[in-house]
């Protein structure tokens, strides 16, 4: 009971602290969704210790949501420059394929495999960066190339087979737990802190926002817009590589056909729900993480409530629409104006 109290008090406190920040709205939506589950979805908040680790739906949300959270970190920076990266799902498949090929088929060490997989992610990101920054191809087209070709490359690497691996260190990555919590949580937090330090601790964040706001102006102030762009695509590739590792480790195999399929859309959605505009400029790193958590909480809620997969996209879309509407300054202004001009009746109009 008191754990319940602490949780909700903590959440309310979090909302209060962020009341004037953009992250408030996705956070509020997440809070409402959790509250809804608290009272209407039996067992959603049940937590117990099994085999020395926390076990429950909330833990699943974090563990399964970690892939999109990692993708969203890279995607936030790409979107902040006014671009988009459609290839992250395919890069996940490539990274997973490289990982499985190195340990499963070539029988090299786990360290080599992880380094190779992350390098593949970096390389894929550099390819995107080269097309966008070097050759000035529109980001949506440039990354579409790898989105389509990437899965083929991954299939080529694995020869179209699902490759299994059992190395404990690799399995730990996506399934292990640290201090009773999923290791993926530590991974996501570490990446978040690293990214936050990178963009807020240095001038890089400012550069990214400047490029996204007005590329020409930032060029005239002496900023190498192309270098900044190249960098964010490489970073997004790295994040996708990491997410690919987690995805492969989670099912102890590389499934080139399905790993990360459509996750680029979830990542973009997470960023947008988190309060970063697709037009570029200011970005909300923490908002993107909350957005990713919101999306995963939605999925897990629909599973837990036994909502059939045929109709599951509908409630999902409604919640996402609601969050987007909450964030729309135009709509908020309209509602406020409506309240002001309508004659005061009992119970209030809007």
């Amino acid at each position: 009971m008191w754990i319940d109290l602490v949780f909700w008090a903590g959440f309310a406190g979090l909302l209060w602290v962020n009341r004037s920040r953009p992250v408030f709205w996705p956070l509020l939506a997440l809070g409402l969704l959790l509250l809804f589950n608290r009272f209407t979805t039996p067992g959603f908040f049940d937590l117990e210790i099994r085999d020395g680790r926390l076990y429950g739906s909330l833990v699943d949300v974090i563990n399964q949501g970690s892939k999109v959270m990692l993708l969203a970190l890279g995607m936030t920076l790409v979107i902040a420059t006014g671009g988009v990266d459609l290839s992250v799902g395919a890069i996940m498949a490539i990274a997973g394929a490289v990982l499985a090929q190195v340990v499963g088929v070539a029988h090299l060490s786990v360290t080599v495999a992880i380094v190779a997989a992350l390098a593949a992610g970096l390389l894929a990101g550099a390819w995107n960066g080269l097309l966008v920054a070097g050759l000035r191809i529109q980001p949506i087209v440039a990354t579409l190339i790898l989105m389509v070709a990437g899965r083929g490359i991954a299939q080529l690497i694995t020869d179209g087979q699902i490759i299994n691996f059992e190395q404990p260190a690799l399995v730990f990555l996506g399934n292990g737990s640290l201090f009773g919590l999923p290791f993926t949580l530590t991974l996501v937090l570490a990446m978040f802190i690293f990214t936050a330090l990178l963009v807020r601790g240095t001038a890089l964040g400012l550069f990214i926002e400047a490029v996204g706001d007005n590329e020409t102006a930032s060029h005239f102030t002496g900023l190498s817009a192309q270098r900044v762009k190249f960098l964010v695509y490489v970073f997004a590739g790295f994040c996708a590589g990491l997410a690919g590792l987690v995805a492969a480790s989670n099912i102890k195999s590389a499934d080139a056909n399905h790993a990360g399929l459509y996750l680029e859309l979830d990542a973009i959605l997470a960023v947008v729900v988190g309060g970063t505009a697709l037009t570029g400029g200011r970005f909300q790193l923490a908002g993107s993480l909350v957005g990713a958590l919101l999306i995963q909480t939605l999925s897990t809620t629909l599973y837990a409530r036994n909502v059939s997969a045929d109709i599951a996209p509908v409630p999902k879309a409604i919640v996402i629409l609601a969050v987007c509407l909450l964030q729309s300054p135009v709509l908020r202004g309209k509602i406020a104006r409506l309240g002001r001009f309508l004659p005061k009746t009992k119970g209030g109009a809007a």
């Binding site: 039996p42 599973y303 997969a309």
Partner: protein, 314 residues
């Protein structure tokens, strides 16, 4: 080495041409959907190998999941004047014009693996493929025998709207419905993938009814393999605490059965080469054949897994 190889290849080519002109060989045009899965690759290999074994001249075309490619390939088969045309249609509809052209050319058509929707059934001679409903029934029947007609079932369904998902559910429920003490308490799509199968099973196990689940029925092996991991992570023993039956019969399933983690897999056989060419021979000879022919498929459980494993090709 390279020179040797090319010489060898050239020699084979010459030999091929000579033997082709020597004997009046049967020529078959086959248009495949693509190479989207290990199942499909095994299907292709089986067809190619069987043609080679029987000395049938096979014109093979890969449609890369596109109907227009397939129509192009079919027209080129007409132009080449093959004896029989066989193909696995990418989609169900839109085949009437090209099938009519083939009919006018007097070439018999055999459909493999997937059916077409046409208003005139004489546009093709026969259809050979897996019966997904029957696969569902087989899984159901095996389960009735294994559990004695008592089970609390969780079901991992395939991609919503996909024919195998609809039919495998239908066949399974047909059998289960006659046993009042067998009921499906959870049913959710795992999209035919390992990752989704695991994710959905995790949530099944955490639901309040989760502790009652005694059986898992998965529409394909991959989802079952993902679910097995979720069951293990929940501290339960897959194959013992929860009986698992799935469909496809891929190698991974046999490995899991040999390890005692999966109880049964219903085969969905891609190796239709021998059966297909038996059929094609009959069709070419003008013998009458049934309009619908089911592929020979078995049901394998743990006891057969170890013996069967080395024989699995896919």
């Amino acid at each position: 080495m390279n020179l040797f190889r090319s010489l060898l290849a050239a020699g084979l080519c010459v030999a091929g041409v000579l033997s082709a002109s020597a004997a009046d060989k049967l020529t078959v045009g086959f248009s495949q959907i693509g190479a989207e899965s290990a199942w499909r690759t095994a299907n292709t290999d089986s067809i190619k190998n069987e043609a080679e074994k029987r000395g049938i001249k096979l014109q093979f075309a890969d449609a890369q999941q596109k109907q227009e490619n397939q129509i192009k390939a079919l027209r080129s088969f007409i132009a080449q004047g093959v004896d029989v045309i066989a193909f696995s249609p990418v989609v169900e509809t839109g085949w009437e014009p090209v099938l009519r052209e083939i009919k006018r050319a007097g070439i018999p058509v055999v459909l493999s693996d997937r059916a077409v929707k046409v208003s005139d059934p004489s546009l093709f001679v026969t259809f050979i493929g897996s019966d997904f409903v029957e696969e569902g029934r087989k899984a159901g029947r095996w389960l009735v025998e294994k559990t004695g007609g008592k089970a609390v079932i969780a079901e991992l369904t395939g991609t919503p709207g996909a024919a195998p998902a609809i039919d495998r559910k239908k066949g399974f429920e047909e059998i289960i419905s006659t046993h009042p003490e067998m009921k499906i308490i959870k049913s959710q799509s795992g999209d035919f993938t390992r990752a989704k199968g695991k994710e959905v099973m995790e949530s099944f196990l955490k639901s309040p009814e989760g502790k009652q689940i005694t059986v898992l029925y998965a529409h394909n092996d991959d989802m079952a393999l993902g679910a097995i991991q979720a069951i293990e992570e929940a501290g339960l023993k897959p194959g013992k605490d929860i009986v698992i039956v799935s469909i496809d019969g891929v190698k991974g399933a046999f490995e899991a059965m040999a390890a005692g983690k999966l109880n049964c897999t219903v085969e969905c056989n891609p190796l239709i080469g021998p059966q297909l060419f038996d059929l094609i021979k009959k069709v070419a000879a003008g013998q009458s054949v049934a309009k619908r022919i089911a592929v020979e498929e078995g049901v394998y459980d743990e006891s057969q897994a170890a013996a069967e494993l080395p024989k699995r090709q896919y």
